[in-house]
Amino acid sequence: MNWRIVFGGLFLAVITFFLIISALATHDFGEPSETGMDQYIIDNTQAETGADNGVTAVVFDYRGFDTLGEATVLFTAVAGVIVLFRRLKK
């Protein structure tokens, strides 16, 4: 049982170290270094998709296929939960 604490602690320490390093190395908060793709979407959302809401334009038009996947995930979860609580044959 002690192994769990030793290895778990070690793993946690290593992960903490690298996460803090990456947090400090990420670009400054509020000043993204590279915004090409997003700026394109902001500029063209009205002309290309007709939606006023940029986020909805991304969700349903530019990345619509992700949304199909997301809807599928929810569908899967419902099917899974219903399968788990179905009536079993006696």
Binding site: F18, P32, S33, D38, F65, V73, T76, A79, V83, R86
Partner: protein, 524 residues
Amino acid sequence: MFEQILAHSPALAVAIPLLGAFFTPLVGKINDKLRNIFVILILALDSFVVLLLANDVLSTGSIRTYIFGAKEIGSPVVRIIFEIDGLNAFMIILAAILPLAAVIYSWAFMKDETGQDKYYTLMLLLTAGMLGMMMTGDLFNFFVFLEITSISSAALIAYRTNNKFSVQAAFKYIVISTIGALFVLFAIAILYGQYDALNMAVLANSIQYGLLDKIALVLLVIALAMKAGIAPMHMWLPEAYGRAPSSVTVVIIGTTLGSFYGILRVGFTIFGEQIISASNLGVGIALGWMLVGLAILTIFIGVLMALKQNDFKKMIGFAAVAEIGYMLLAFGAALATIYQNSITGAVDISPAGLTALKGGMFHILNDALDISLLFLVAGAIYYVTKEASLNKLGGLARNMKYTTVFFIIGMIAVSGLPPLNGFASKLMIYQSTYEINPILAIVAILCSILLLATFVKVFYAVFLGPKLPKFDKVKEVPKSMLIGMLIIACIIIFIGLFPNLVVENIVNPAVTALQNATAYMGGI
């Protein structure tokens, strides 16, 4: 018409099973038989589309892209793009074979269970997720499909909810895969924050290999290795494989290899130019040897644990762990042989490493088929005897002739004996690793022999030996289960008889695509 289908095949390959999954609950309201036929037809159609696409990509050697929602890609790349090169085409062949065999098999196998509507729905969703994972050219889309596969497989592993072990196995599986998927998402977010791109080809083009990129690489590889069942985090795999219904296990094998594909894509394509480059030569070689070490550990754990297992399906599960180790061994050894050409200055994989790559790639296909066949046999035995422990089985060969033949085929194939497919790929791995380092080859061969010994022991325990009185009334399994096994067995025998044909037409384009990251970047 034909051209039209081919042009839209990447989208159709995912959309057809999804459409089928949404329709299945409605069709199931009408009639059980109709629903089974409907599901099989949907999967057959899907396999047709997938094989059409794979054939086109593999024979022409081109890269096929599909943009969702627009005609042109445009610049910058904002839309989701499916990009299918040789490697993807190679992987989706698996996704075309396995679910179809599994669903035909489940017609009789699942007949006595309740909630079959949802069972078939989840199978179709699992197939769609697996295909999406193997074809997408977008990192976030990859994450979404990864989650679809892990949720649906967790629900299917726990399908027999009255068995406490299967519920426990499902819980372990979903905890491991969710944490893995969250790490993948974190890595994607790091890469996005740096380059403002999610497309794999765009990322591969612009990656600088700075500190953050290295952290993202490590996170991606660790998380996907967790999901692929590589050594330190392999514990969920035999449990999940062993406790799920056999037909489900066959499809989950496909998704596990999908995660393995993810490692290859990340390592060789997105970070490929940086790992295999002159400036990072030492790092690349060290990484290769690290993978070799993990692979040896995986093989050892798999084989040794398989030896002492008492549960039939868990034993095959550990054999599956060992087989994943063989693949990793091949790819790691190939990476360990990178060298700088003294004349041109180009960094490349040595000829021995190239053979290892081919062997490893070939082994992905063979492993999936062999292990699937063995699981289907184990499922058939559970179906007729309701008994999983090896100690309580015996003398089944007399009553179940066909199943015995299928088991022998699977046994010979998985332990790498001459006439069948496992031999072809393992020979390539032995040859190349012997050139790289003889110890590796010796360890690999020894473990293979141990695996054979394990399976011979099982063969004696289950099929030979005295006829047990309690199995007097045991009959051969129903036809649909035999057909499911027959499909896989036929492909195994075909590959075993004509390995060169398969290597030249399927494996070589995949290896070429794996090595050639520039072509993938140029695909968009």
